[in-house]
Amino acid sequence: MSTRRVTKQQFADGTTIDGNRIEVALRDIEEIADRVPAGLIANRFTQTQISMGFQPVLSGAANWKQPWMTFQNSIASEAENTFRVKGSGAVTHANPYDVSDWSLWEVSLQRSHPVILDSFDLFMVQDPGGSGGQAYYMPGGSPSPYIPPNVRDLQMFVLVDNPFLPEDRAQASMVVHKADFDSDAWLFTPNPSAPVVSDMLPPHPGGSISGWSVRISNLRVPLAPYSRVRFVIAIPQYDSPGPGQTNWGLQPWRTFAPSASVTLLEPNTDG
């Protein structure tokens, strides 16, 4: 046996045990007990959850697309980053060239201390049961009960800017890229006709919940202090008739009410 953390002093029968060494050992223990080092706290992080989301405008302002911004900057002659997010071409659905453009919901943040990225979760809520006749649903979904169509063209990204060329998006580090997945695997519920067992107040006029819940959890990605992190959700836009446009319609940003959540684990700090 030996001591590993509290002191370097080791004692054994048959060797000298002098007062000076015992004093050193006790002082080492005292220093730790009176000011426990951060590294000796096994659980020294707490979560921080950043809640984001909005209710899309449905019809009043016909072109109100905010906060979805277009993916390609090449249309502007002065633009330097032709494509804002690298890797979006990884989608292998039926015909990726049908996608006219991607619409991005991008939120970025920076912390002055190290953090651990735990989760990036997206809830795309659809609820076509509104009595007012205006609601969030995809044209390609099945009616009565509504279930959204299975699509493979939804993408989620977490990117960290390059520390030396932070404004060059081609140099960014791709930390997370979720793409090319069947959305049917992430249905909020496959049985939207089932009534809620016990609802909460206030009642939601949309009726039964539907849509997708895409969770990217347990990431445990360490982020260095001052990292510039970008959380991006991409939905496709199809200008030409075809299966994609049938599913999403001409204004895909109006087909769901999004909630997104970023969970960080932040270390304790000193006073």
Binding site: N43, W64, Q66, E78, W105, D168, P203, A257
Partner: protein
């Protein structure tokens, strides 16, 4: 806690049991029984941030775009002073840094209202962040913002947004070194103006995020069976722990050294009845070498016998509601509201946010900020409701909810829940900053209440339930402490959800069956620019 205070072994002093074994037991007691307090930790503070996320902040012609949010930071219920009189136990929240960002489409350009890049208007890109401190109406303050004080004003200058690809744009940007202490019994008004106001083009700051990063001392965890700390609802039972620790109380596994007789020979190695010098030090080493346990896992489990007395951190989750360009005032609406039907829109409408449950959280307060600019809606038929619930059934075929907090108010009864209200200050007059902070009471049994605001201001403010536990568990911990489902109702078991919690849902509904949502009086605002906010305030745990 006092320092451990070892005795010194001066030369020539006879070496006694007290010189060693008694001291070792002091250290063992601190690590395995009495537990370590935050002041005896190198890092005794936890971090929390209030993150304000706006979908879109747009300019009007000649005016800056504007987003606002008012909030307060009430301490956890066991430390809360209903009359707002400060005490020795008041929490101290220190603002350390502020982060701001928006989606600039990766270019040194402004974003026009339709989302296009505008290199011509890039000189107008800038952000200004102001935080005002108010004495709340509940505690005797006035609604006049001229009585407020500006505690923080940050300008993120235009030059920071203009660098080309080889340079550095300060977007996102974190500004450090604030060290501004926030008062738990004041309210704060955050006002963000962005971008500056050109005269001919509408600009936008899409996906604006402002994070206020705080630190606060680590605090005690909640215990469901402790009268002093109030009865926590929905706390999972951990049946394999000692009875006294099954509902949240910390538990320890005390270790002490075997002390020899006073005149026994001092030895290094352990022998029966004597841990020895080396053996005693090893006991201390064993107690800490894997780290002191504290807090909760994501499934609400302990990590083992606990070495820290305080294992929780203060936390605020700011939830944006109706915050994406909606401006519903009088008959004016930037886009038709969902669900309300054709004008004047007499069906109810509702916005909801979903927040996944990751690590356990205990809700102590829920607050709402009703952002109406200059004038709130006064019609008696105009009803608003805010609710927070726990949901289950995600990616499943049967879903259910349990209520955590709920309030209803109308254009005439709104005052019952208000803890603060203000309009102005005049520097933002053109766009209008103003609103109410409302207390949304937690659910509770009629006979078991929590600690609310002072009833002398409004009886409704004292209507507060005990804290409410929100966390996942494995099956063996599915049994929960009693929880109600409405404020002032009764404890009710809900087997459809108890032990299966997956997410928090926040709803904000509005309904005027008489006048309709677009039938309000001119100038009366149902949704101000930047939308409303709901704050879920409580404790998170070390993990």
């Amino acid at each position: 806690m006092a320092k451990i205070g070892f005795r010194r072994l001066s030369r020539g002093v006879k070496f006694l049991i007290e010189h060693f074994y008694t001291q070792i037991d002091k250290a063992l007691s601190r690590f395995t029984e009495a537990q370590v307090l935050p002041e005896d930790m190198e890092q005794g503070y936890s971090r929390f941030s209030i993150d304000f996320s706006w979908g879109s902040i747009q300019t009007d012609l000649g005016e800056s775009g504007l987003g606002s949010a008012a909030f307060t930071l009430p301490p956890p219920q066991e430390r809360f002073q209903p009359d707002g009189v400060t005490s020795l136990y008041d929490a101290v929240y220190t603002l350390e840094s502020v982060c701001a960002s928006f989606d600039q489409r990766a270019e040194a350009a402004a974003i026009e209202a339709d989302g296009d890049l505008s290199f011509d208007e890039k000189d107008n890109v800038a952000i200004k962040i102001d935080i005002w401190k108010r004495r709340m109406v509940t505690f005797g303050g006035t609604s006049d913002m001229n009585d407020a004080s500006l505690v923080l004003s940050l300008e993120l200058p235009n030059l920071g947004f203009l660098a080309d690809k080889s340079g550095l744009r300060t977007n996102p940007q974190v500004l450090t070194g604030m060290s501004e202490v926030f008062d738990p019994y004041s309210s704060y008004v955050l006002v963000v103006t962005a971008p500056f106001a050109p005269s001919s083009v509408l600009l936008d700051a899409p996906n604006l995020l402002v994070s206020l990063n705080f630190k606060a001392p680590i605090i005690e965890v909640d215990k469901a069976d402790d009268v002093l700390h109030h009865k926590v609802q929905n706390m999972p039972q951990v049946p394999d722990l000692p009875a006294g620790a099954q509902y949240g109380a910390t538990y320890t596994s005390p270790v002490s050294a075997d002390t020899p007789a006073a005149d026994a020979l001092i030895v290094a190695d352990s022998v029966p009845g004597d841990s020895g010098i080396q053996g005693s030090i090893e006991l201390v080493d064993n107690a800490i070498k894997s780290g002191l346990n504290a807090g909760r896992s994501m499934f609400s489990r302990r990590f083992g016998a606990e070495g820290l007395m305080y294992q929780a951190g203060y936390d605020v989750i700011a939830v944006p509601m109706w915050g994406n360009g909606w401006f519903v005032s009088g008959a004016t609406a930037s886009g038709d509201l969902p669900y309300v039907g054709i004008g004047p829109g007499t069906d109810p409408t509702c916005d909801r946010r979903i927040i996944p449950i990751k690590f356990p959280f205990v809700v102590h307060h829920v607050m709402a900020y009703y952002n109406y600019g200059w004038n709130r809606v006064t019609a008696a038929s105009f009803e608003q409701q805010v609710g927070v619930g726990i949901g289950t059934g995600e990616r499943s075929d049967s879903y259910s909810y349990r209520q955590v907090a709920h309030a209803t108010w109308t254009g005439t009864s709104y005052g019952a829940n208000v803890i603060d209200r203000f309009t102005g200050p005049d520097v933002y007059a053109a766009a209008g900053v103003g609103g109410d902070i409302l207390n949304i009471p937690l659910v509770h049994d009629a006979t078991v209440t929590g600690v609310g605001y002072d009833a002398s201001v409004s009886p409704a403010l004292a209507d507060q339930g005990p804290p409410f536990y929100v966390g996942k568990t494995n099956s063996q911990d599915a049994v929960r402490s009693p929880a109600a489902n409405t404020p002032g109702g009764a404890f009710v078991a809900m087997p459809s959800i108890d032990g299966r919690e997956q997410f928090l849902e926040v709803r904000w509904s509005m309904h005027d069956p008489v006048l309709g949502m677009y039938g309000q009086a001119a100038g009366e605002t149902a949704i101000g620019r930047g939308g409303h906010w709901v704050y879920i305030i409580g404790k998170k745990h070390l993990c």
